[in-house]
Every structure is written in C-alpha cells, then in structure tokens.
C-alpha cells in the first residue's frame, strides 16, 4: 500500500546517488556564483531524469508520476535550483506529450529528454497575472495561416535557456469569460522577436534562471498551436496540478536536507557541557519537523498516485502543495534556529535552504490559492 514499486525505487536510487554524489558538493558554489547548472542538467538527461513521466518512444523513462515525485525530492535535496529547472523541463515535455500532435511530440520531446535542449520553459505568468491566469494579456493575432504573438511574460524559469517554450496568449478578447480566449503555442528559443530581459536577482534558487520575456511580433506557424484555439486555460490548469506535486516534492527535498543537517549539527554542537541534541527544546523541534515532513511526503505520494491512476487529483495536489511547502518553510526555519549564528551565514547550507525554500509557498499557485481550491472542493 505504501511501498514504491521496483521501477520507482530504481529512479529514486538513481536520483539519490547523483544528488548525494555530485550535486550536494557543488550546490553552494552554484548558488554563490548564481551559475546556471548546464553541466548538471546534461548529466541528469543522461540518467533519464528529463522525461520521467514521458513515453519511451520520445526518449522518456515512462516511469509515472510517483517516480517523478520521488526523483524531484532527491534532486532538490542536493540542489534546489537544479531541481526546479529539471522540474520545468519535465513539465513541458509531459504537457507536449499530453496535448501535442505527433509532429510536435517528435520535434520537441526527444530534444528535451536527451538533453540537446538544456532547458524548456513554461511561459504563463505575466506582470499582472500570476496565480490568476485568466487575466493574462499577451495576444496572438491570426496572420495568414499562422499567428503573431505580442506581449510580455514574467518570472519565466529558464526563459533565456529554453530550446522550446510553451507560451500562453489570448486569441480572443472576451470580457465575460476571460479564460475562454486563451491558447497555448510552442515557440522555439531564438525565435525572431523573442527577447529575454535581465535575470531576476532572487533571494533563493539563485542558480536557476528566471527572466522576463518580451514578444514583439513573434511569428509562429499554425502547427505551433498546442491543442486547439481556446484550449490554453485547460492545458495550463492541468499542467499546474501536476506541477504542484513537483513543487511539493521540491520543498520536501530542500527540507529533508535541512533536517539532515540539523540532526548532524545538533549532535556536534555542545552547550552547557553537552550536545544540544540532549536538550528537549532541540529534540522536540526535530521531532515536529520529521513528523510534518512524513505527513507531507504521504500527501505528495497520494496526489502522485492519483495522477498516475488518472483519477481527479486537483484537491490532493493542492493539499500536498500547501502542506508540504509550509511545513518545509518551517523545517528550514528550525534548521537556521538550531544552527544559531552559523545558520545565518553561508558557511553552512542551512542559510541557503532557508532562502531556497521560501519561494515554494509562492510559485505555481500561492498557499492562498491552494486553500481556495481545497475549500471549493470541500464545499462542493
């Protein structure tokens, strides 16, 4: 009932070995230099982690949503920036597989899973529309058989590195049903008129790339349309439900690293003649964090299992995300507290975890949006 299958276990071990072997050693350097982990992403592609829930025909591992969640957690435990980049790549590959034509799948997905595209992007958010995707303003105007895209996007992970971007734009202005007029397009990196702006100077996840994009008369052919005209909102929501599981897993990964380090530090550090691990005040904090992370892990696995079984999982994904990300923030806060002054300086990883984890309650739907979704489902 609660046990991973053999193939899930294999993916988890692969991810864990790589994270513990390579990533943890370089994570603080990547963070300090705000260096995009291009080499690491290539290695992850070689390990088969860029299309975990993607059919083998397109170079994926076809291991399912649970395996994806398990891998995300392990990679995030090593380096949260690398994990979020990997997570977005997987999300884009999955979304193209789910909604794309054969030609689209053949063209783009193997590029992502093989690592030939170092990254892929999910260009939904705008300056004035974050969790509220229905308010987006980028336009797609018909022009002959194709479309011309204009507008700007905000907070786009890997936006300047992506080989392919899914860009959401408005094909119809409809004041009554704003979500109706949104469509999704596959835009190639380097397309004429697509410009990436300055890197955001972020508090955490500094090794991941986050940029604004401007689209100035970006021309795309009709074949760039993902799904049908007007499907965009539905595609975004379905991708985000899955994405929430990914972010919840990422949060648990970061928090697990913080917990491990707290346990080690509590055994090493001495006050009043004994290791601080002997003080109940410290022990109880650790017990609470471990308990909360276990509960979070189970919520995430349940949501992933529902997704894998093709059952509705909106409620489960939102529960997993709000709970895991908030408890993960608590775990990282505790880690800094237990480390005392050392938790506040970059010599120890606790400080980085504290910064990295903060965004998890914000992106892919804030905690408030998750609560809104859960309450709506509960009151149905």
């Amino acid at each position: 009932m609660f046990e991973p299958s053999e193939s899930q276990r294999l993916i988890r071990e692969t991810a864990r070995n790589y994270a513990q072997g390579s990533l943890t050693r370089i994570a603080s350097e990547l963070d300090r230099e705000a260096r995009f982990p291009a080499a690491q992403l290539g290695e992850l592609a070689e390990l088969g982690l860029m299309g975990i829930n993607v059919p083998e025909a397109y170079g994926g591992a076809a291991a399912g949503a649970v395996a994806h969640a398990l891998a995300m957690k392990e990679i995030a435990q090593g380096c949260a920036s690398t994990a979020v980049t990997m997570g977005v790549n997987n999300m884009v590959a999955e979304t193209i597989c789910r909604f794309g034509t054969d030609a689209q799948k053949k063209r783009y997905v193997p590029e992502i899973t093989s690592g030939r595209f170092v990254a892929a992007s999910f260009a939904l958010s705008e300056a004035q529309s974050g969790s509220d995707a229905g308010a987006l303003r980028t336009t797609a105007r018909r022009d002959g058989s194709g479309f011309v895209l204009n507008g700007s996007k905000q907070w786009i992970t890997s936006g300047d590195r992506a080989g392919v971007l899914i860009v959401w734009a408005r094909t119809e202005q409809s004041a009554a049903k704003p979500a109706k007029g949104i469509s999704a397009f596959l835009v190639e990196g380097g397309a004429k008129g697509l410009h990436a702006g300055r890197h955001e100077d972020k508090m955490g996840l500094r090794a991941s790339s986050t940029v604004p994009l401007t689209l100035e008369d970006v021309r795309v052919p009709a074949t760039a349309l993902l799904g049908n005209v007007g499907d965009g909102f539905r595609i975004a929501l379905s991708a985000l439900d899955g994405g929430r599981i990914g972010i919840a897993s990422q949060a648990i990964g970061i928090a697990s690293a913080a917990l491990e380090e707290s346990l080690q530090y509590a055994k090493d550090r001495r006050t009043f003649g004994q290791p601080i691990a002997n003080h109940q005040a410290i022990r109880f904090m650790l017990a609470d964090v471990a308990t909360e992370l276990e509960a979070a892990r189970l919520l995430v696995l349940r949501a992933a299992a529902f997704k894998e079984a093709e059952r509705p999982f909106t409620r489960e994904a939102s529960m997993a995300k709000v709970f895991a990300t908030e408890k993960a923030n608590h775990a990282c806060d505790v880690a800094v507290q237990i480390h005392g002054g050392y938790g506040y300086v970059s010599e120890f990883a606790a400080e980085r975890h504290y910064r990295d984890v903060r965004v998890t309650t914000i992106y892919e739907g804030t905690s408030e949006v998750q609560r809104f979704v859960i309450a709506r489902e509960a009151l149905k």
Partner: protein, 379 residues
C-alpha cells in the same frame, strides 16, 4: 505505490460508517451528558466482529488487518469518541499483547472470548506517579509458590469500571527499573481487585475510567504474560499498536467536527452571505481538511507497517502526535466557525472539542511522542 483500499477494507469502513450514522451519532450527546457507558451499542459492534478486528480468526477475531482496524476506529469515533476508545482499548491494548505474547492456554481463556466480544478487556499500566514514564511503576508482584501477590494502584484505567479482565503491569524487581516489570492477565472478579468510583472528566464522558487498588491479589503463575522482566517490552510494543488506534480516534473526532463546521458554514449567514463565502472561513476549512488527510495517511501508513510485520514505533508515534494535535486544532476551529452555537451543548461540536483533548494526553502525551521520535532520529 498504490493508495487505494482493498474491497474488504472498504466494506468494513462503510459498515462502520453506517453504524455510526444510525446508532452512535444520534445518541452520543445523551451518553456524554449522562456519563453513560453505551453497553448496547458496544455489544452490537462486537457482534459485527469489532472486538478483535486484527486478531486471527482461530482465536475468535475477525482476522483482518490493522489498516482495517484503523479505518473502523476512525468511523466509530466519528460517531462517538467514547465508543471509539472503548473498542480501541479492547483491540489494541488488551487483545493485541495476548495474541502476541500469550501461550495457547492463555489465548483460549483470555483472548477468544474478548476477541469475540463476549467480554471486555482493559489495560493497567498508568499509576498516580507513573504516567507516560512507565519505568516509575510502583505496583509490586511478589512470587509466592505457584502464584504472585500483587499490591498497588493503577489509575485512569479506561474500561476499568466495566471490564472483565486486565492486562496488568507490575514490578517483580524494583531494583531493576524497566527490566523489573512483569505483565499479567487477570480477571477483574479476582479477590483483591478493588475498583474506585469512575473518574470525572472533561471529555469522553461515556467512556468510563477509574482507579483500581490491588490488595493482596493472588494471581497464578499461569497468568503471567511472557517471562519476568518482559513487561516493559510488552508494554512498549503494545503502545506502538495502541497509538494507531488513538490516532484513528482523533481523526474520527476531527472529521465529525470538520463535517459539522462545513455544513454549518453553508447555512449560517453574516453580512448577508453564507459564512463559507468569507475567505477567513474558507481557509480554516481548507486547513482542517488538509490536516485530517495528512493525519489519516500517517495513521494508515503506521497500520500498514504493522501489517507487514515491520517495526513501526516511529511511525506510530508520528501518527499519534500529528493526528491528535490536528484533531484539537480542527475541533477548536469547528467551535469557532459555529460561534456562540459552538459553545452551546445543544450541538455536538462542543463535545468534539472536549473529546479531542484527551488524544494528546493518553497512550503517551505529545511530549512523550516527541521524545520517542527524536530518540529514533538521533540514534
């Protein structure tokens, strides 16, 4: 990874849910108020096989797994938390240690009738000066020929006033600390077993508990569970299972409170709209639902590990700690959503609020759970 319940588990859950809706929920308030043990309802539940859900059928049990057991306790407790703990004590704290450590002879006399639900058991570990800290036992058992003479006091004994037998912990050697603890199973009609009046409590008022004095109570050696000095091990492994039951009970209480608050929020209006349309209320409900789901997953996972025959001390403690604290938060918010009506004895929520409180205390306080968890983490 497969999270669905089996057909058998689902069936038991649905049976218990239906029973709770029909027999328990309409009466729980009355039993609480009158401090009345719901003997009839307990009898009917026993007839459904809930005396020993996870006890093998050869010893009179239902022969199901611990996941089923946890599901059953949640459903029953949703209807009546007192009835939930009555069953939990008979299953986890009484039947379980005998099934695990008893001889065939002991099982025949002390397990079968209890698992079948013809009789009711209780568990005697806590003493006035030894609650969650079991090593402080002061009840003594002195060997005299083929029997032991037992003297001492146990308190907060759930089911104590109505039980037919007790799994009893004593000191056979005070100098050895936890290694001097020895366990017996004793019928309550044994001379020297003296019950005191029932405790008056904040909640679970339909679950009778009392202090018991043992005055030169003579118990034959054949009723010793395990060897001399095995008691602490028996107690700890029993509590690992018991905590699953209390975790499940807490979720049942929390769920009852949550469901009532959810329904009330649709009816009650303020500022001209139903209160569920206020975000402050929505977010409370969202947090309540999330906490209960997380708690249930922890409890079922611990039960599942027990079914696999794996060590589950840490998981049971996590499940009990989290579920009990979640249930209290949920019940508190349920009262809050009800406003003044939540404070009134006319509705059930104030009872859930009182009933939830004990789950953070008995079978090891939250603090003890944190000790258990952190000890294992820091090993």
């Amino acid at each position: 990874m497969q999270i669905d319940l089996s057909e058998e588990q689902r069936l038991l859950r649905d049976t218990c849910r239906e029973f709770a809706d029909k027999e328990l929920r309409p009466n729980a308030k009355k039993w609480d108020r009158e401090h009345r043990f719901p003997a009839e309802a307990v009898k009917k539940l026993f007839e459904l096989g809930l005396g020993g859900v996870a006890v093998p059928s050869e010893w009179g049990g239902a022969g199901m797994d611990n996941v089923s057991y946890a599901l059953a306790i949640e459903e029953i407790s949703r209807g009546c938390a007192s009835t939930g703990v009555t069953l939990s004590v008979n299953n986890s704290l009484y039947c379980d240690p005998i099934a695990k450590y008893g001889t065939d002879g002991q099982k025949e006399s002390f397990l079968t009738p209890y698992a079948r639900g013809e009789k009711l058991g209780c568990f005697g570990l806590t003493e006035p000066q030894a609650g969650s800290d079991a090593a402080e036992q002061r009840t003594t058992a002195v060997r005299k020929g083929d029997s032991y003479l037992i003297n001492g006091t146990k308190n907060w004994i759930t089911n104590g006033p109505v039980a037919d037998a007790i799994v009893l912990f004593t000191m056979t050697d005070l100098s050895k600390g936890t290694k001097g603890i020895t366990c017996f199973v004793v019928e309550t009609k044994t001379p020297g077993f003296v019950r005191q009046k029932a405790d008056e409590k904040l909640g679970i008022c339909a679950s009778p508990s009392c202090t018991i004095f043992f005055e030169n109570m003579e118990v034959p050696i054949s009723q010793r569970l395990g060897q001399e000095g095995d008691g602490f091990k028996i107690a700890m492994s029993t509590l690992d299972g018991g905590r699953i039951g209390i975790g499940a009970q807490a979720i049942g209480i929390g769920r009852a409170a949550f469901e009532e608050a959810r329904d009330y929020s649709k009816i009650r209006k303020t500022f001209d709209i139903p209160i569920f349309q206020h975000q402050a209320i929505q977010f409370m409900l969202a947090d309540m639902a999330t906490a209960l789901d997380a708690a249930r997953l922890l409890v079922l996972r611990a039960a599942w590990l027990k079914d696999q025959g794996k060590r589950h001390t840490r998981e049971s403690s996590m499940a009990k700690l989290f579920a009990s604290e979640a249930a209290n938060r949920v019940a508190d918010k349920a009262v809050q959503i009800h406003g003044g009506m939540g404070y009134s004895k006319e509705l059930d929520v104030e009872r859930h609020f009182r009933d939830a409180r004990i789950t953070e205390i008995y079978e090891g306080t939250s603090e003890i759970q944190r000790l258990v968890i952190s000890n294992l983490l820091l090993k």
